[in-house]
């Protein structure tokens, strides 16, 4: 096992890439394991948000990929992460390089440590991109900055990563504690509204603005039939905390 799965009481699924010293784990093992986990998360309605974290020095070890490039292209962990229905936080405790970097930018929100460093050195090694970086990175930080990172392999420290919006939080203590605080805050929101917001934001960005606004309006009308919408408004007027059911 490389991906350790824990579900906490508030509905956060925590997947940790575990460093098993001496074991002979390949990318394939990791992919199959994650594919099963992601399927489990998809159908578990108690799971409201997901955190990916890692015990490795690099978020996803480069040596897992070596010699498996074609398999990686066809069986993408970054795609698995990006297709999760729930909000996904990547918690980088140490560094994120190469495929780990691509995993990181496939999430919705990134939290790192104030000592974290980021880089993408695939091209310098004569290797092509394997996890969607040429498409996801420009959408996050713009074309110029993406080319700078991808073509030069430059290292980016946490402060700069925050400044250019590569990460959204820099934790002063541990990244996982900050990530848990964020996920617990998400878990308190109405789950269907959370899923619809994620859908509207991510799908809408790939549409024209007019089409995106239409999608948002339809999701908003659909939401009017939910128990949680009534509960949200009722709790607001009665000055109490809402008790959302995800219905």
């Amino acid at each position: 096992m490389i991906a350790n799965f824990v579900l906490d009481k508030s509905g956060t699924a925590i997947i940790t890439f575990v460093d098993q010293l001496g074991s002979n784990i390949s990318y394939q093992d990791c992919f199959w394991e994650l594919e099963d986990l992601v399927e489990k998360i998809e159908f578990d309605h108690t799971i409201k948000s997901v955190i990916f974290t890692s015990e490795f020095e690099d978020f996803f070890p480069v040596n897992f990929i070596d010699g498996h490039s074609e398999f990686v292209l066809e069986n993408s962990i970054t795609q698995l992460i990006s297709e999760i229905r729930q909000p996904v936080i990547v918690s980088v405790e140490k560094n994120a390089k190469d495929y780990g970097f691509e995993c990181m930018i496939s999430a919705d929100i990134v939290v790192c440590n104030n000592q974290s460093n980021f880089s993408y050195e695939q091209l310098a090694k004569g290797q092509p991109p394997l996890g969607g970086i040429t498409q996801r990175l420009p959408r996050l930080i713009g074309v110029g900055r993406s080319l700078d990172i991808i073509l030069t392999g430059k290292e980016i420290a946490s402060a700069e990563a925050l400044e250019i919006n590569l990460v959204q939080y820099v934790a002063q203590a541990t990244s996982i504690d900050e990530s848990l605080t964020i996920s617990h805050s998400i878990n308190q929101m109405a789950p269907i509204a959370v899923f619809y917001i994620k859908e509207a934001v991510k799908t809408g960005k790939e549409m024209t603005l007019t089409q995106g606004i239409s999608l948002e309006a339809d999701l908003s009308f659909l939401l009017q039939s939910t128990f949680d919408r009534k509960e949200g408004l009722s709790s607001f007027f009665n000055k109490r905390n809402p008790e959302f059911k995800g219905e």
Partner: protein
């Protein structure tokens, strides 16, 4: 329109129109009457040849707009009718079609629909003490005035999700850093500074501004080569006019 009873006021000073949200006791909470009046006033502004730029502001000291008036939620007879009305009075579509520039003058609370209105404007100027928040998901709702679409285009997907999924409050400094607003001014100088910017914009030709606004708004909706062809076409049209 009786301006005293209006929840949106309209006045002009030279070539500058001033559109004021006028429910100060409710921190200008956005309601159906405001939607209808804003729709009328934006149409009027667009047709008024004596004005070239508008400033949209909120009356009262507490803020620009505290979001949607939740007391009206659920008042539509059905979701079907609510959807019909949404498209009959498509205020947000009208914002996108506006040829003339609109500046959002932001102070105090800028919450939910307040951010969404500002996001449809062309320039956002805020005071140092302004506060921004998107609380919809904490109320079992999602934004319904384009927020899930305009925010990712201005502050990126990740920052949008951070604001929309955690009800995270953003101060003016952070808002400027992430691109939610464009300028910060001292609290007491807001009106004066916005007026100066508006006066600068008055020097520009309305049809040229309208064409450039449209090109920029649509820039991310198609690939760059088509965008450049469209820009050349519009520029040629302007030069030959």
């Amino acid at each position: 329109m009786n301006q005293d009873a209006s929840v949106v006021q309209y006045s002009t000073k030279g070539a500058i129109a001033l559109i004021s949200l006028n429910r100060p006791k409710q921190i200008n909470a956005f309601n159906v009457q405001m939607r209808d009046e804003l729709y009328e006033i934006l149409s009027l502004f667009q047709k008024d040849d004596s004005v070239k730029v508008a400033i949209i502001k909120g009356n009262g000291p507490k803020g620009f707009c505290a979001g949607a008036d939740l007391s009206e939620f659920g008042s539509a007879p059905s979701q079907i009718i609510a959807r019909e009305v949404r498209w009959q009075r498509d205020l947000w579509g009208l914002f996108l079609k506006m040829q003339k520039p609109i500046i959002a003058q932001l102070h105090g609370f800028v919450i939910g629909s307040g951010i969404e209105i500002a996001s449809f404007c062309d320039l956002r100027v805020a005071t140092e003490s302004a506060k921004f928040k998107m609380p919809e998901s904490s109320l079992g709702l999602i934004p319904a005035a384009g927020g899930t679409q305009t925010l990712p285009r201005s502050i990126g997907t990740a920052n949008s999700l951070k604001m929309l999924l955690t009800n995270f409050q953003v101060d003016a400094k952070t808002a400027k850093t992430i691109g939610l607003i464009d300028r910060i001014v001292d609290d007491e100088k807001l009106e004066q500074e916005v007026f100066l910017i508006a006066r600068q914009m008055c020097n520009m030709q309305t049809n040229l501004v309208g064409s450039v606004k449209k090109l920029i708004r649509n820039a991310l909706d198609h690939d760059i080569s088509n965008g450049i062809v469209e820009e050349k076409f519009q520029s040629k049209k302007f030069l030959l006019s």
